[in-house]
Symmetry: C2
Subunit: 193 residues, 2 copies
DNA sequence: ACGTCACTAGAACGAACGCTCTATCCAGTA
DNA sequence: TACTGGATAGAGCGTTCGTTCTAGTGACGT
């Protein structure tokens, strides 16, 4: 029935979960809502994810991790100058934000933040995502000649500011925070080159 | 029965809501949980907040707004140099974070982020909070001699970075993001003085 | 042709949700 | 003393939640 080229049920479920939790968080997303959005039945959801909502959330956060990492890696590879590259990231994020009418913030943060305290597995998945992004930014900075210790610290601020600015932009429905973040992160990075 | 000096029921309810939503978000916090934590009954909750959970959340976010604004205003008034003052803020946040064993992040963000799309009143309350904080930081920068346009933009980045670093610190259970944010925000501000 | 098994399908369960409702309590006033 | 009304108290409403369970489908190997 299912051709090789079309998206399988399992993947549809993960993507629907990621998309929904990106907008409404872990607690705000229901399993029936997920199965409806993924065009799958509850039976299929539990077939692929016997661990239920928790297992599904961990998988969805992993998906969000990969998405953001891909955006990051893509832009950082395309733009040589690290300061310019980070600024380009903020522009990319602003575009996505505007395109979704300020619906889609960071898929990891929104999904994990409120439930991280009660669900260690969710927190761990989110922590892995942050570590992943930090490593990507850090690598770019080191490759640009910044010493490892400085790059490590700077990468923390880059990730924090990108996340914070995206969140602020979402709440205020304005790209101003992301625009400012781009300007200032570029200036900050340049001061270390 | 109730003496003037002790905390009234209404205030206890608001504070319990703020505290609980700070940790578990809007959807993750139940009204019975709130009434239990506030040592009030459901009847009292609906007596003071006929609008139910939504009205309660808006009030709680306002409370979180005031809390963070007070911290900000306190530190910015105490430390003259704006770069040093913002760095001191990150230290204060890191202390609070560690003291709560990484339970208590930003009361506004955690409460509002996941539900902001479905509940405009919640989003509006959170937006007012961000605008408030932005104004406070902006005022400090202008008072330090930075021109208005630059200060406005810079205040956006300061708020975004503080929020993002607090969130990252919470998820990763480390003060490293906040420490880095302090160092780099100070450096950034200094570059405009 | 038949059996196997991954997958689909959705009814049904107990628990928890937000909220409504009636009953009661008690300080203040007449 | 009797009345009033803000505040307290919690049982119970209908709904939705995550999860479990059984039944059914259909592609594939033998």
């Amino acid at each position: 029935m299912k051709a090789k080229h079309e998206v399988g049920t399992r993947e549809r479920i993960v993507q629907a979960t990621s998309r929904l939790m990106q907008r409404h968080g872990y607690e705000g997303t229901g399993l029936k809502e997920i199965s409806r959005e993924a065009q799958a039945t509850l039976g299929s959801v539990y077939h692929f994810f016997p661990g239920g909502k928790l297992e599904l959330a961990v998988e969805a956060i992993g998906e969000g991790d990969r998405e953001f990492a891909e955006l990051l890696r893509g832009v950082l590879a395309r733009v040589d100058d690290p300061a310019e590259a980070i600024a380009a990231c903020t522009r990319e994020l602003a575009d996505g934000m505007r395109a979704s009418d300020w619906q889609d913030g960071c898929p990891v943060t929104t999904a994990a933040l409120a439930s991280s305290r009660r669900l260690p597995e969710v927190r761990d998945a989110a922590e892995r995502a942050f570590a992943n992004w930090h490593g990507i930014v850090r690598g770019k900075l080191v490759a640009s000649g910044i010493d490892e210790e400085t790059a490590d610290e700077l990468a923390h601020t880059v990730v924090s500011t990108l996340e914070g600015a995206e969140m602020t932009a979402q709440i205020t429905r304005s790209t101003a925070p992301l625009d400012a973040a781009g300007t200032h992160l570029a200036r900050l990075i340049r001061s270390y080159l």
